[in-house]
């Protein structure tokens, strides 16, 4: 399959490598001690992306639903694992992250396909799923961290509410809103300024690949709308699943400090 690799692109990659070497030289000159990291990261990016390029070529060639679903599952598992590790201090954070991201991504992608925005073909669904799952992963990490911080920081108020006869949900509700807000703000803000500050990746990619700017913006608008939806679905699931980890069935707050 290697003969399929477009060699003219390879020479461009090698040329772009000059920038990495310059960055490494700056690091050495300024004693940043980052040269090794810069070079390792560049080699890793090269190997990972070439590998995913071949994997996608293969999957696009097969283009059958089980193969697509398999790849989506692998992507979701990696996102759940990564986000789960960020949720330190949240009991069962891995499970919470995996369930939240699965819910957010499945609902978003399901709606996009059901509404006829995208076809359930490998070439359309996999790049879109990459954006949705990646965005859901970030939202989930943000929300889990914020719920954890709010519950810990507001433990006295939460326990006061529990002692007055509130359920865990009632007692923590005012602070959960703040967590969901924090999770959704980045995508809402970047949607507000899209095109004004920077051209987003999908759009840039399409324009570089030769599409007309108007075609590119159409796709970008869909992408922004879908990411807002994914953030809301994932954020809501993450808030709901995370706060529950801090309460027992008998409406008791469970924190290491109590």
């Amino acid at each position: 399959m290697l003969e399929n690799f477009p060699l003219d692109q390879l020479s461009r990659i090698v040329a772009a490598l000059a920038l990495v070497f310059l960055a490494a030289i700056i690091s050495r000159w300024q004693k940043l001690d980052l040269e090794k990291d810069i070079l390792t990261a560049s080699v890793r990016a090269f190997i990972q992306l070439i590998a995913i390029g071949y994997a996608l070529t293969l999957i696009f060639a097969i283009d059958n639903p089980p193969a697509i679903l398999f790849l989506l599952t692998v992507m979701t598992l990696i996102a759940g694992y990564t986000s789960g590790k960020r949720g330190r201090g949240v009991p069962h954070s891995g499970r919470v992250a995996l369930m939240s991201i699965s819910f957010g991504a499945a609902l978003t992608l399901g709606l996009l396909v059901a509404l006829g925005v995208f076809k359930f073909s490998a070439q359309q669904i996999i790049p879109i799923a990459g954006m949705v799952i990646g965005n859901s992963m970030n939202v989930c990490s943000l929300v889990m961290g914020r719920v954890r911080d709010e519950v810990n920081g507001r433990a006295p108020e939460i326990e006061a509410a529990l002692a007055l006869g509130a359920t865990g949900r009632q007692a923590s509700h005012p602070y959960l809103r703040a967590a969901l807000h924090a999770g959704m703000t980045p995508i809402v803000d970047s949607t507000k300024t899209v095109g004004l500050i920077q051209l987003p990746g999908a759009m840039t990619g399409m324009i570089l690949a030769g599409a007309s700017p108007l075609e590119a913006v159409q796709l970008q608008i869909i992408v922004m709308y879908m990411l807002i939806g994914a953030a809301a679905f994932t954020g809501l699931a993450a808030v709901w699943l995370t706060y529950r980890q801090f309460f027992t069935a008998n409406q008791q707050l469970v924190l290491p400090s109590l």
Binding site: A160, A161, L162, A163, L164, G165, A166, Q251
Partner: protein, 241 residues
């Protein structure tokens, strides 16, 4: 013999594999004020938290009016057994919002007369209803938290060092408020404190906890009297820290 308000029977509790309470037995009569004493980490707060199930006790170890508390709906139990914490932990908003919170959870809306009545019970002027909680002094905030707890019409109050963060004048005021409430409402009070003047002034009986066990129990004048050789007197003199 009348049924005690609280009866604790052979209560043992562990946290992270470490014993916190060891075979605790305690009885509190209706309308009694019982003070729990003991050094930090002796299990006083853990015992108090078991009484309204903020910490779950094992079944058949705590009885409220002879009923095992683990068989009572936990939210109903907490409305009957109110709790005031060391920090008032008021919610953002007005004093009235805070006082109305408990009944609201139960689907009841308090009238402004009811709010004023609760403020009066907690020795606060009626015009405090519309004050923001962020504007209150420590003593005022603690009395609002008492009024907030009373809004559920509890028959018992658990007090977890409610005066320890207050200056002496505010402490005395809160103490007088609690005593008045016991007299006016017939509340049963279990009070964790480390102020001996508080114990001598308000307590009908005292339990001393050491390392999770009840080490002493009885009448405060007797336990803390000048000739006392009881552990409570040793604790009061600072020999048991």
């Amino acid at each position: 013999m009348t049924t005690p308000r609280f009866q604790v029977q052979n209560l043992s509790l562990e946290r992270n594999g470490r014993p916190v309470l060891r075979n605790v037995n305690m009885m509190v009569a209706v309308g009694e004020i019982v003070c729990l004493l003991g050094p930090s980490g002796s299990g006083k707060s853990s015992l108090l938290r078991c009484l309204n199930r903020l910490t779950e006790p094992p079944p058949q170890t705590i009885f409220l009016n002879a009923q095992d508390i683990t068989t009572i709906d936990v939210l109903a139990l907490r409305r009957r057994v109110g709790m005031v914490f060391q920090k008032p932990a008021l919610f953002p908003g007005t004093v009235a919002d805070n006082i109305a919170y408990g009944p609201q959870l139960d689907g009841r809306t308090l009238t402004s007369d009811e709010i004023i009545e609760l403020l009066t019970l907690a020795d606060l002027p009626p015009d405090y209803a519309q004050r923001l909680t962020s504007e209150l002094s420590g003593g005022e905030a603690q009395r609002v938290s008492i009024a907030r707890t009373l809004s559920n019409h509890p028959d018992s109050l658990l007090l977890d060092e409610p005066t320890s963060a207050l200056d002496p004048a505010a402490r005395r005021h809160v103490r007088e408020t609690i005593e008045k409430l016991r007299q006016e409402l017939g509340l049963t009070v279990i009070w964790v404190t480390h102020y001996m003047e508080e114990v001598l002034e308000v307590a009908d009986r005292v339990y001393l906890l050491l390392d999770g066990r009840i080490a002493d129990e009885g009448d405060p004048e007797h336990l803390l009297g000048p000739e006392s050789h009881h552990k409570t007197a040793e604790f009061a003199a600072g020999h048991l820290e």
